[in-house]
Amino acid sequence: MTPAPTRADFDVILDIVPTRAKVLDLGCGDGELLIRLAEQKSAIGRGIELSELGVRQCVARGLSVRQGNIDEGLGDYPDASFDYVILSQTLPYVDDPRAVLCEMLRVGKHAIVSFPNMAHWRARLCLLLTGKLPDDVFPGPRWYESPRARPVSIEGFLSLCAREGIVVAQSIFLNGSGQLHGILKNSLWATTGLFVLRGTCTTCAAERGPARHES
């Protein structure tokens, strides 16, 4: 078998997750990340995946995956039942991002979130100079032919975390050639932002009321 192409954020996630951690991957696709976590980190992995094909591929690889959508799928897991809950590149596609983040932090002791950064300089310049949204200019599906997705920027994401009292334990900026450091670690240069989060989201915690013990 030819090795599957790896996503840059997978390598970073593999570095972050400690050995034998219990991990939940939201939108786990064909299970690539969970398999690598199991093989390289002896992680105990579970997944939630929307597509039937993805679920079948995961089962073929010996993974335990639940078919469902992320927005409704997290409610059944008890509090702090995972060490890490991962949302890799899927944040723009969830119905209620804040609620999902909140649930990730309830179910997991940590959350790892990565997403394509819409505040990359090329995107900014594109909107400024052409008046068109970046997906109208760059290759790939156009805004009118891809599934509903909301653009997320690193700045916007971090200000949400600040407002909600979510602790950003680690932030990693990536572009095509790898991690950005020093002066280059700036939203202008980052195509992907990846964040390790802790704590609880104040708005959702208030809505949820006192801690629940049983689902």
């Binding site: 039937e52 079948r56 089962v59 073929a60 010996g62 639940r66 078919q67 469902g68 059944d76 039942s81």
Partner: protein, 386 residues
């Protein structure tokens, strides 16, 4: 014989619960002696770690795969999934299936002779539940010398039995595969069962369940019950695909009340067929057992009931199944997840309604074969390390 067939098989019988050691039923009544009809396929391995129990649905029997004689037209009811190289690979696994108590396919049921009266039980047969069916199966598994089943699998009422196994005998089930099923029968399903039963009660030949000595049987009632059943097994989409508005004979309306549409003919065919192979009283008893099935009953919630579950689960539902809709499987998944049980869930996008668990062979085979392989590898590893 087609490749992948288990070939010619024979039904076997196991009798237990001889008085005074009758089986105590959930209702408190005693039943004995009890005979279970069962079939097995493949070989039990040395450490007895490769045994799979298949539980049948409402009208099923112990004859899952293969043929009883070379002249048989049809193989067993799940031949697509049981045999060499199939989902339940009989080259690797030892597969068992037994007819439920209350049934009419060789196991003790209302049409069996009551040894106390030397007459068929009829309605004097005690009401049995899914838990009783599983308890009886457990005696068979004991008799076969199997400590732990690799998996218990079944669709519809078979899935209820798989769930019951996992809660009643948590140490004896390594994994469970409930398909197109529910942890508590919904009022809609109870309603449909009741209509089927009413069709039988209202048949004059039913005679309060006492018809075994009569030359007439409640065939009209039973076949009507089966026709209703068949509607619930299909979906709007599958009816469009299978029949549309097609006429069975010719292409012009006859302006009469004879069988005309293809869908009518299909239902009548299945109704007529059913009376040849099924007993009306068994239909009453088995549908009643399904009606009583509610795993949460007495536990406050399904999650509490699943607290002792040790088995790994593969739960499968079908999007167009309106008899056991996906939400009912999701309820099972949620309650298992709340207990940290290792669950895989797949909601197969099939147009075939409830029947999909018998028709979506390829997709089911992928899922069940891969899931089982993983459970089996783990079981072997654990046994080696003991």
């Amino acid at each position: 014989m087609a490749p992948g067939s288990v070939g010619i098989v024979q039904t076997q019988y196991y009798t237990f619960a001889e008085p005074p050691h009758e089986l105590e039923l959930e209702s408190g009544e005693l039943l004995g002696p009890i005979t279970l009809a069962y079939e097995t396929y493949g070989q039990l391995n040395e450490d007895k770690s490769n045994a799979i129990l298949i539980c049948h649905a409402l009208s099923g029997d112990a004859h899952v795969a293969g043929y009883h004689s070379p002249d048989d037209k049809k193989p067993g009811w799940w031949d697509d999934c049981v045999g060499p190289g199939k989902a339940f690979d009989t080259d690797k696994y030892f597969v068992i299936c037994s007819n439920v108590i209350g049934g009419c396919k060789g196991s003790t049921g209302p049409s069996s002779i009551n040894p106390k009266t030397n007459k068929p039980y009829g309605l004097s047969f005690p009401v049995v539940t899914i838990a009783d069916m599983v308890n009886a199966q457990r005696h068979l598994i004991d008799y076969l010398g199997i400590e732990q089943l690799l998996t218990v699998v079944g669709g519809s009422m078979g899935g209820m039995q798989a769930l019951q196994w996992a809660v009643a005998y948590p140490d004896r089930v390594r994994s469970a595969i409930p398909l197109a099923t529910t942890a508590r029968l919904s009022p809609q399903s109870i309603a449909l069962n009741e209509v089927g039963r009413q069709a039988i009660y209202k048949d004059v030949h039913w005679n309060g369940g006492d018809y075994y000595d009569s030359e007439f049987r409640p065939h009209a009632g039973l076949s009507l019950a089966r026709m209703i059943g068949h509607i619930t097994f299909l979906s709007d989409t599958s009816m469009h695909e299978k029949f549309g508005r097609k006429l069975q004979y010719g292409d012009k309306y006859g302006y009469h009340f004879k069988t005309e549409f293809a869908v009518e003919s299909y239902l009548q065919y299945h109704g007529d067929n059913f009376i040849r192979r099924f007993d009306a009283n068994s239909y009453l008893y088995i549908t009643k057992a399904m009606d009583y099935f509610d795993l949460a009953n007495g536990y406050g919630s399904l999650a509490r009931r699943f607290a002792n579950v040790k088995a790994k689960f593969l739960v499968i539902s079908f999007k167009s199944d309106w008899l056991f809709p996906s939400y009912q499987s999701k309820e099972i998944v949620s309650a298992l997840m709340a207990n940290g049980v290792d669950v895989t869930y797949c909601d197969i996008d099939s147009p075939y309604g409830h029947d999909a668990f018998l028709l979506e062979v390829d997709r089911l085979t992928d899922l069940m074969r891969d899931f089982l392989k993983n459970v089996f590898v783990k079981a072997e590893r654990e046994l080696v390390s003991l």
